[in-house]
Every structure is written in C-alpha cells, then in structure tokens.
C-alpha cells in the first residue's frame, strides 16, 4: 500500500508544483473538453489545430515586445486568434470561399508571420517556449488565468447551450427560427481561442489542442448523448492530466510532463477506439443479435 501511495498521491502531497500542475490541467479539461466536443460534433475538429497555429504569431509578438510576460503573450494570442477567426468568417460569408479554406489560408499566413517574427529576434529558442509551455511552472497568475477562462467558458456554454446544440445537429433549422446563428458561431470560435490561449501557457500551443480534441474524440466511443459526452470528455481530460503527471514523475528524466499528459489522452483515445461501447472496434468484430444496436 505505501508503494501505491508513493506513486499515486505522494508526489502531489509533497510538491506544490505537482498540485499546481494538476489544478491547471483540471481547469483546462473542464473548459477545453466541452469546447472540443462541440468542435467534434460540428465536424470542426481540425479547426482547433488551425486556431492554435494562428495564435502563435500573437504570442510571439507579445514575447518580442515584453519578454516572458503573461499579459503580453495572452493579449497577443487573443488578438491574433480573434483576427484570424473573424477574417475567416467574413471571407466565408462574403465570398465564394468556404470557411475551412479561408481559415486554412489565414492560419498559414499567421503561422508564417509568427515564425518570421521570431527569427527577426535572431534566435529560434524563443519559439520553443511558445510551442511547448511548461506545465510544471504554473505560477499564481497563470492559474488565475486558467481558472478564469474555465469559468467564463462554462458560463458562456451554459448561456449558449441550446443554439450551439441546434447548430450542431441542424444549422438550417436554427437559421429558419432565429438570426442568432452567426453570432453564436463567432462566440463559439471566441471560446476556442481563449481556451487555446490559456492552454498554451500550460502546455504550449500545439499540445493545448490535444487536451481539447483527444478527450472529446475518446468520449464519442462511449456515448452519443451530448450531456454525457461533455461530462465524459472533461473526465477523460482530467484523467489524462493526472495519469500524465504521475507518469512523468515516475518515469524519471525521460518523460517531460506536457507530452506525457497528451500521450495519456492519446492512450485513452486508443483504448476507447478498441473497447468503446459505441462503435468501438471490439464491438464491431464481435457477433451480435440481428437487427439490434
């Protein structure tokens, strides 16, 4: 028993940085995973990835102007993310180009701009701080940012829940009964942006997407009910955070914490893919009663 305690609880009892990392990942899971569920249901799973790349130049610019400063990098990321989201949305509504193509165009421009900005400073290492944040170094300011974003996200999701669900299942119907579709869509993209900006302080821009999409995709193998999807995805996110931190602690020097968390989420996804009750591979291969789901 003491062995199990040392492995599973001891690190968090002994070290402040482990507790902070856990709280940070929990906050990210509570807000990021539901956003991921909606992204998945709306077949926008890759949008998160595109937005993460779009945020990079803003964060880089913040870094160049103010150094390793939380407000500057956050503000830069938000501005870049919203600009790309709005520009892509506007192009999709006003021209022949569809939203996915215009988003791809804008995020690629943004990414190239970001890499250029970083090179202007003459060193590539700055970029690595933005690409790979450090979940083991969450100070009070970052934790407040993470929990603030989580609270805001949950509040907005609660307010916009109905139109969001409608837009997922039947956007045509939503358009016929209300003109709020465009507004809801932009609000939702805003949530994606703030969650990614929060996530990059803890995990870096690229890995933050992992904690958003992998739990959502894994949850889909267990249920089709949207409420359960959201709860399960959040749970998977928190579990990945916990497992990843414990693994990074137990594995010694070779397993950085951020990637470990995303690998844990990836393992949960692969497990769900194999064993999931809703269309998991094992279920498909096993014989089942005729005409029964």
């Amino acid at each position: 028993m003491p062995l199990l305690y040392d492995l599973l609880i001891g690190p968090f009892a002994e070290f402040d940085f482990m507790r902070r990392a856990l709280v940070g990942v929990f906050a990210l899971s509570v807000s990021g995973a539901p956003v991921g569920v909606f992204l998945m249901l709306r077949r926008m799973s890759l949008t998160g990835d595109a937005m993460a790349h779009a945020i990079l130049p803003g964060a880089a610019l913040g870094y160049l102007v103010a150094g390793f400063s939380l407000p500057a990098m956050t503000l830069g990321g938000l501005v870049a993310g919203f600009t790309v989201a709005l520009a892509a949305g506007a192009v999709a509504r006003l021209t022949v180009l569809k939203e996915d193509a215009s988003l791809a165009a804008f995020y690629l421009i943004s990414l190239a701009l970001g890499v250029t900005l970083v090179s202007l400073r003459g060193s590539a290492v700055d970029l690595f701080h933005v690409l790979f944040g450090n979940v083991l170094a969450l100070d009070d300011d970052v934790l407040i940012l993470l929990s603030g974003v989580a609270s805001l996200t949950l509040g907005v999701l609660a307010l916009a829940y109905r139109p969001l669900v409608l837009e997922c299942v039947d956007p045509g119907f939503l358009r016929s009964v209300s003109r709020s579709g465009g507004f809801v869509h932009l609000t939702f993209l805003g949530l994606v942006v703030i969650n990614l900006v929060a996530g990059f302080h803890a995990l870096g821009t690229l890995l933050a997407v992992g904690l958003m999409m992998l739990p959502a995709a894994a949850a889909r193998f267990w249920t089709a009910d949207i409420t359960r999807l959201i709860l399960l995805a959040s749970g998977f996110g928190m579990a990945s955070g916990y497992i990843g931190l414990v693994a990074s602690y137990a594995a010694g020097s070779n397993l950085p914490a951020g990637p470990a968390i995303i690998l844990a989420a990836g393992a949960l996804y692969l497990g769900s893919l194999l064993l999931g009750s809703q269309g998991g591979l094992a279920r498909r291969l096993l014989p089942r009663a005729h005409l029964q789901r």
């Binding site: 002994e14 940085f17 090179s119 060193s123 290492v125 790979f132 450090n134 950085p256």
Partner: protein, 302 residues
C-alpha cells in the same frame, strides 16, 4: 602549442589558401556564437571583421541558420567554431554554403568533461561549454590566434601581440575569480541553475551547480527532475537559485518559491549579453557571473 598540428592539417586539407587580395582589406571571420566572436575580436583587432552567427542572448544549441548566415559563411576566410558538438547545425551550413573558408575548432586541445547524466540526447556525452573555465579560455585564445595566423600570415606579429596581452588579462581574471570563491564559506558554495552549462566552472572553481534540466536546452524537464531538485535544495540547504538568460524563468521561480532558496541574479552561460549589457564581453561575463554568485551565496538563507 598542442593545436599547431591540427591547424596545419586543416591548412593542408584546404590546399592553396587564398590570401586577402589587398593587405588593407579586413579578414572576414565568422564565429559561431558570441563568446567566440569576442575572442576573435580581441585577438584580430583592426585586421579582422567578425560576424557572429548566434548573437547576444541567442541559444546556439537550437539555432536555425538563415540564408543570410549561409552568405556570410560563404564569404568568410575563416570560420571559428566551438566544437564538442555545441553547434551541430554549423557543419551542414558550412557544407551547403560552399565556402572555401578554413574551419578552426576552438576547443582543440581541451580535455572535455564527460556529462555525468547522459539522457541520450544533446551533445553525445561531452560537455561543450568549455569556456566557462578561464584556463580553457586561454586554450581557446591560443587556437584562435593560430587560426588567424594561418589564415592571414601577414598579421602574425599583431595577432601574437594581441593574444599575449589578452592572455595576461585572462590570468588576472582567473586570479580574481579564485579570490572571490575563497571569500565564500565552503558549505555555501552550491547553487541551482536552470541550465547545466557550468560543468567546467564547477570543476575549476569548486562551486556546485545543480540543474533542473539536462545539459541541452532542447530537453524539457520531467516532473521527476523538478522534484529531485526541490528535495535536494531542502536536504542540502542550498542557499540560492539562479535564473539563466535563455531558459524558462517561470520554472526557476517555481523551484525557488517551493524550496525557500533565494533567487540570484542572472547568470550568463551560453551567450554574452548585448554590448551595453552586464556581460558584453567574455571577461565582463565571467566577472558578472562570479559577483552575482558571491552576492547570492553569501546573502541567502542558511
């Protein structure tokens, strides 16, 4: 000099080495990073024009070269590198630029330190940060001088005079550092820094540095690494934690907060600061570092 032979060999390999067309024209020299650039400037003086690829505060471990760098290298007569796999990207750059420049390795003749804890990444077992000991810096200077003489024999007298004058300054620097260390109580001669670039410094001057990250800045610290450091600070009562000029400052702050050690000033390890900064030259960097170390170790809590 140990390194004469290697310089001669590279001379022979480079076949007919083109001499500067006009005696007045400055010898174009490329140095891979700021510390080497400073050495070349000290010894070359007026006769050379030095370009440093990785500038002040840059990280040579993970630098990615630009086309302008390739052009610079292509136009150079001499490329000075640290060696010991410090700038792994440079050999490719030298090849791809098609330069006819002679490549001189500044660490030739230095006995490299083995890395105690090799994770299978980074520098392949040898610590490249050899300039952190002044005795090694003197070998660097000898190598740079010989390389300059080989590339520009007409300036032999100037280079030798400059190098001799600079070696005298380095001797004074070495004495100053040793005197400072002697003032720090023996049981306080230990500190934490977020970058393990002080292996040679530790060996030469007897101040222990414990690092939360592997020797290369490419590796991210695992939870276990950070936990080990915090335990060690508490157990051994390490007085101070130093931020390094190019790795994540938040991590060092977290460790200081959690362990109660004092946060010392900025130490410069892999790169000089901008010229106006506190570590604009090699000598200024070493003086700055030792004074920051003394301040933090003497003042920190028990």
């Amino acid at each position: 000099m140990l390194n004469r032979r290697s310089v001669l060999l590279s001379l022979a390999a480079g076949a007919a080495l083109p001499l500067p067309v006009f005696a007045q024209e400055k010898l174009p020299v490329v140095a891979s990073f700021s510390v080497l650039g400073d050495f070349v400037r000290e010894i070359g003086g007026e006769r050379v024009s030095v370009t440093t690829l990785v500038g002040p505060d840059g990280d040579a471990h993970v630098y990615s070269p630009t086309p302008a760098d390739a052009k610079t290298v292509a136009g150079a007569k001499l490329v000075v590198v640290n060696g010991l796999k410090f700038e792994g990207w440079l050999s490719r750059l030298v090849k791809s630029s098609g330069t006819k420049a002679m490549v001189a390795t500044a660490t030739t003749g230095i006995t490299p330190l083995k890395l105690a804890d090799d994770h299978g990444h980074g520098h392949g077992g040898e610590d490249p940060h050899a300039w952190q000991s002044v005795a090694n810096a003197k070998i660097y200077v000898g190598n740079v001088r010989d390389a300059l003489v080989a590339a520009d024999p007409a300036g032999k007298a100037v280079y030798e005079a400059n190098a001799a004058a600079y070696q005298t300054k380095l001797d004074a620097l070495e004495a100053e550092i040793k005197a400072t260390v002697a003032r720090i109580p023996v049981d306080r001669r230990k500190a934490i820094t977020s970058h393990d670039a002080f292996g040679y410094f530790v060996k030469a001057y007897g101040i222990a540095f414990i690092a939360p990250q592997g020797v290369s800045t490419e590796a991210e610290a695992s939870a276990k690494d950070v936990a080990r450091i915090i335990r060690q600070i508490k157990a051994e009562k390490v007085p101070a934690v130093f931020l390094e000029n190019i790795t994540n400052p938040r991590l060092a702050e977290q460790i200081a907060r959690e362990s109660g050690a004092k946060i010392g000033g900025r130490l410069y390890s892999d790169a000089l600061s901008a010229e106006s900064g506190p570590a604009g030259t090699y000598i200024a960097m070493m003086k700055h570092n030792i004074s920051q170390i003394e301040k933090a170790l003497v003042a920190g809590p028990a």
